[in-house]
C-alpha cells in the first residue's frame, strides 16, 4: 500500500476539538464532517487539501476527546496518511480501527516541511521525502494491528473472526 501527496504540517498537541469542533458533532456523516475538518486550527485547510495529501504533525496528535469523528473527518477530507512524532492513544486506536493510515516517526515529523512532496510505503514502513530526497524509517506496527489494518479496520477483522 502506498500514499503519495503534498504535506500539510502542524505542531504539537493538535486536539480532536480543533480537528472537528463539537458544534458539528450533531451528525456523523463523513462528508459533512469533512467540510469542517481542522476548522478551529486552520480555517484554510478544507480549501487547500487535495485528495491524497498527508498531514505531518509533532507530539501528541489527536489528544483530548475520543470522538471518532476526528479521524473520520480527516479521512473523508482526502488525507491519505497522518505522520506524527507521537499520537494520543485514543486517536491512535480510532485511526487503526477505521482504516486511516497513521505512522509514528519522530525524524520525519521534524524534518518534513509544509508543502513537501512525500510518498509512504506502508509495507516497508518507509517515508520518502521526494522534495528533500530523503528516506525515513517509521516504527512498524505490531503484527496484530497489521492484521486489523489489512482488513481495513476493526469491524471487518471482527467479522472475519466471528464468522470464521
Amino acid at each position: 500500500m502506498l500514499a503519495h501527496g503534498k504535506v500539510i504540517k502542524y505542531g504539537d498537541n493538535v486536539d480532536t476539538d480543533v480537528i472537528i469542533p463539537a458544534r458539528y458533532l450533531n451528525t456523523s456523516d463523513p462528508a459533512e464532517l469533512a467540510k469542517h475538518c481542522m476548522e478551529d486550527l486552520d480555517a484554510a485547510f478544507v480549501n487547500k487539501v487535495n485528495e491524497g495529501d498527508i498531514i505531518v504533525a509533532a507530539k501528541n496528535f489527536g489528544c483530548g476527546s475520543s470522538r471518532e469523528h476526528a479521524p473520520i473527518a480527516i479521512k473523508a477530507a482526502g488525507i491519505s496518511c497522518v505522520i506524527a512524532e507521537t499520537f494520543a492513544r485514543i486517536f491512535y486506536r480510532n485511526a487503526i480501527n477505521i482504516g486511516l493510515p497513521i505512522l509514528e516517526c519522530p525524524e520525519a515529523s521534524r524534518d518534513i516541511d509544509d508543502g513537501d512532496e512525500v510518498k509512504v510505503d506502508f509495507d516497508k514502513g518507509e517515508i520518502i521525502n521526494i522534495t528533500k530526497n530523503k528516506v525515513y524509517k517509521s516504527t512498524p506496527f505490531p503484527e496484530f494491528m497489521q492484521e486489523i489494518i489489512a482488513k481495513n479496520g476493526l469491524i471487518e477483522y471482527i467479522k472475519a473472526s466471528l464468522y470464521r
Binding site: 480543533v18 463539537a22 494520543a88 469491524i155 466471528l162
Partner: protein
C-alpha cells in the same frame, strides 16, 4: 515478574497469570459505555457486523448526555437512533432524560462499576472510574461497537507512573487542584500510553469526589487510565451504591514504574490552567488580573455534591458580579435532588446564578453556555482547548468549584479567601 494494579486487572481479565508492558492482550469487559455523540457511530458499525444481539444486555450502558435535552433537530435524531437501538437490543442500562446524568457521575452512582472491573467507554473521560480501583479507559465508537458485539477489547498493557500521595489538603484546595498541579508538572503527554497509579497514605485523606475528579483528568496527561488504591472509603462507596461483586487488586511492592512522584498534598495551592492547554497551570497567587464573562460549575470533573457544597459555601448570602453569567449544573438527577434538599440550589439562585439540568452542554461548546468571540470563562470542566466552549477566539480557564465560585463574585479570577 511483579505487576502494577492496572497490569494485574488486565492479566486477570485476559485469563493470564502475568502480563508485561507492551504486550497485546484481549480482555473481557465488565461494562461498555457510550453517549449520544459516540453511540450513533458505534451503532452504525455494530450493524455492519450483522449480529442481532449484543454480548450482554446488562453490561452495556448508553447515556444521552452531551447534546441533551436535545439542542436541535439533528441531535434529536441522533438520540432517537440510539434510543431505538437500546430498545431493540433490550439494553437494560439506557438512561433517558429524567433518569440520566452526566455519564461519569451517573455510572458509579448507579453501581455499574466496582473495584477490579474492566470498563471501556466511547468517551475519553471514562478513565473517571479508576477512582474505584477499576481499569477504565476511553475508546472510540468502533471499539464500542466491537465491545458490544464480543464483550472483549484489545489492549496494549501499559507501563505505569506512580504518584505517592502524602499529607492532607488545605482549606479551599481539592482533588481538582491536585490533578491540575500534576498535569502542569508532567505535561499533556506526560503519561502518554501509561497508567497513572495513585497510592500512599495521602489517598486516604481524599474524598471519593476528589478521587473521581483526579482520575477523570488522567486523560488530560495523555494517560490510558488513572487508578486509585482501594481503601475503606472506596468500599463504603461501593456498598452504598452497588451489589455487584468486586475484587481488590494491589500493586506488588516491587512493581516497576516508568517514574515515581511524591506529592505532598499539604503543599498544593488552588491551581488554574490557562488557555489553551490543561498543562498551562499557575497557582492562584500567580494568576494576575484576569477579568471574566462567564463561570461554569459542573461537568463530569466537578459536578458532584461536594463540588456544589464548596461553591455554595462561597456564594451563600453573596451576589455574583452582574457582568458574570454563572451557570451551575449538578451532574445527575440524584445530585440535583440532594442539592435541592440541602438548600444549595436556593443559595445559587439567590446569588444570581442559574441552575441547569444535567448535561455536558457547555463543557464541549455544545449548548447551554457558549462563549462569543473574545469572551473568557472560568470553568470547573476539564479542557481549555481552542474553541472548546464556543468561539475559537474565546478562552477557558480551568479551576476548582471554590475558585470558580469566588471568581463569579469578584468578576475576575481570585482565591476563595479574597471573597470570604
Amino acid at each position: 515478574m511483579s505487576m502494577t494494579m492496572t497490569q494485574k486487572i488486565l492479566a486477570h481479565h485476559a485469563g493470564l497469570d502475568k502480563v508485561v508492558p507492551g504486550q497485546l492482550i484481549k480482555a473481557k469487559l465488565d461494562l461498555v459505555l457510550g453517549n449520544d455523540v459516540t453511540t450513533p457511530v458505534a451503532v452504525k458499525e455494530f450493524k455492519k457486523i450483522g449480529l442481532d444481539k449484543v454480548f450482554d444486555v446488562n453490561k452495556i450502558a448508553i447515556v444521552p448526555d452531551h447534546f441533551t435535552p436535545n439542542k436541535d433537530i439533528k441531535s434529536a435524531e441522533q438520540c432517537k437512533y440510539i434510543r431505538e437501538f437500546a430498545r431493540e437490543m433490550k439494553i437494560v442500562n439506557y438512561f433517558e432524560i429524567g433518569q440520566m446524568g452526566i455519564e461519569h457521575a451517573l455510572i458509579p452512582e448507579k453501581g455499574l462499576v466496582v473495584p477490579g472491573d474492566v470498563v471501556i467507554g466511547a468517551d475519553s473521560h471514562t478513565c473517571t472510574y479508576g477512582a474505584l480501583g477499576a481499569f477504565s479507559t476511553g475508546i472510540g465508537s468502533t471499539d464500542m461497537a466491537a465491545g458490544m458485539a464480543t464483550g472483549e477489547a484489545w489492549f496494549k498493557v501499559p507501563e505505569a507512573i506512580k504518584f505517592e500521595l502524602k499529607g492532607k489538603l488545605n482549606k479551599w484546595v481539592c482533588g481538582k487542584d491536585v490533578i491540575l498541579h500534576i498535569i502542569g508538572m508532567i505535561g499533556v503527554d506526560g503519561a502518554l500510553y501509561k497508567s497513572m497509579e495513585f497510592m500512599g497514605e495521602g489517598v486516604m485523606a481524599l474524598s471519593m469526589d476528589d478521587r473521581f475528579s483526579m482520575a477523570n483528568m488522567a486523560i488530560e496527561a495523555g494517560a490510558k487510565n488513572g487508578i486509585f488504591e482501594v481503601d475503606d472509603k472506596t468500599l463504603a462507596y461501593v456498598k452504598e451504591h452497588s451489589t455487584k461483586e468486586y475484587k481488590i487488586y494491589t500493586a506488588d511492592p516491587d512493581a516497576q514504574y516508568a517514574a515515581t512522584y511524591v506529592i505532598d498534598l499539604s503543599q498544593i495551592k488552588p491551581t488554574v490552567a490557562f488557555p489553551h492547554l490543561p498543562e498551562n497551570t499557575r497557582t492562584i497567587d500567580e494568576v494576575g488580573e484576569v477579568k471574566i464573562d462567564q463561570v461554569v460549575i459542573g461537568s463530569c470533573t466537578n459536578g458532584r455534591i461536594e463540588d456544589l457544597r464548596a461553591a455554595a459555601s462561597i456564594l451563600k448570602s453573596k451576589q455574583v458580579d452582574p457582568h458574570v453569567r454563572t451557570i451551575i449544573f449538578p451532574a445527575t438527577q440524584k445530585i440535583y435532588l440532594q442539592a435541592m434538599e440541602e438548600g444549595l440550589l436556593k443559595i445559587f439562585v439567590e446569588a444570581g446564578a442559574v441552575v441547569s439540568t444535567p448535561t455536558c452542554g457547555p463543557c464541549l461548546g455544545g449548548h447551554m453556555g457558549i462563549l462569543a468571540k473574545g469572551e473568557r470563562a472560568v470553568a470547573t470542566t476539564n479542557r481549555n482547548f481552542v474553541g472548546r466552549m464556543g468561539h475559537p477566539e474565546s478562552e477557558v480557564y480551568l479551576a476548582s468549584p471554590a475558585v470558580a465560585a469566588a471568581s463569579a463574585i469578584a468578576g475576575k479570577i481570585v482565591s476563595p479567601e479574597e471573597v470570604i
